[in-house]
C-alpha cells in the first residue's frame, strides 16, 4: 500500500491549461514517433537492418580468405585489402585492432560485414561520425558508400580493456 494513499474522489477532469499542454505534448510525441520510420527512408545514416549470427572461427576464416584474395599491400603490419564492391567485405574487431586496412573506391557501394571475435567494441568512423556497436557472435551489415576520398580512422568507442585507446583502424578511400 502507498504510504499516503489519496482519499475520496480525487480524480478530476483536466483543466483548460492542462488540456493544452497535454495536446501539445501528444502532438509532438506523435510527430517524433512518425519521424522514426520516415528517417529510415530519407536519412543518410541508418542503423544496419541486416544482421546474422556468426561464430568467431567462421568470421576469422572469412577474414583470412578475403586477405588471401584481395591483399594489395601492408601498412603498419596490417594487410591492406582492396575488396571487390560486388562481394561482401569483412572487417574484424578484436582486442585491440581493426583488421584489415580497407582500401575502398569513392562512390562505390560496399556491404561491410562487421563482427567482433572477443568482446564488445564500438565502430566509429572519424571524422564523419558514423557509430555502431560491434558485438561478438553477431555480424552487422553496413551499406557504405564513400562520397569523398582520403584516409578515415576507425576508432573503438566502447571501452574494451587496457589497449582500448590504441584500437585505431583505417579506411583509405581512393
Amino acid at each position: 500500500m502507498a504510504i499516503h494513499e489519496p482519499q475520496g474522489n480525487w480524480w478530476q477532469p483536466l483543466s483548460k491549461d492542462e488540456k493544452i499542454w497535454f495536446i501539445l505534448a501528444l502532438v509532438w510525441m506523435l510527430v517524433s514517433f512518425l519521424y522514426m520510420p520516415i528517417q529510415h527512408f530519407i536519412g543518410v545514416q541508418n542503423p544496419p537492418s541486416e544482421s546474422y549470427r556468426v561464430s568467431a572461427e567462421d568470421f576469422e576464416a572469412l577474414i583470412e580468405a578475403q586477405e588471401e584474395k584481395y591483399t594489395v599491400g601492408e601498412e603498419n603490419g596490417f594487410p591492406v585489402v582492396r575488396p571487390n564492391p560486388d562481394e561482401p567485405v569483412y572487417l574484424k574487431a578484436s582486442m585491440w585492432e581493426w583488421t584489415p586496412v580497407l582500401e575502398l573506391e569513392k562512390d562505390k557501394t560496399y556491404k561491410i560485414h562487421l563482427s567482433s571475435v572477443d568482446l564488445v567494441h564500438g565502430f566509429s568512423i572519424q571524422p564523419i561520425n558514423l557509430n555502431l556497436m560491434v558485438i561478438p557472435g553477431i555480424d552487422y551489415v553496413v551499406n557504405l558508400k564513400p562520397t569523398s576520398s582520403g584516409d578515415f580512422r576507425i576508432l573503438c568507442n566502447e571501452f574494451c580493456g587496457l589497449g582500448h585507446h590504441t584500437m585505431v583502424g583505417k579506411i583509405n578511400v581512393i
Binding site: 489519496p6 475520496g8 474522489n9 480524480w11 549470427r53 567462421d58 580468405a65 555480424d139
Partner: protein
Amino acid sequence: MSEGSEEYSAVQKFYDNIWLLLGIGIVLPTVLFTVWGLYEVYTLPYLPIVK
C-alpha cells in the same frame, strides 16, 4: 479510496489498483524489451558463408 459507498470513476479505480499497476509495470517491459529482444537474437539467421 473506498470511503463509504461513493462511486469512483474508472480512471481512479485503475490508478488506485496498485497491484494491477505493479503487474503492468513488470509485464510490459519484460515482454517488450527482454522477451522481444531474446526472440530477435535467437531467430537471427546464421551468416550465409560464401566459400
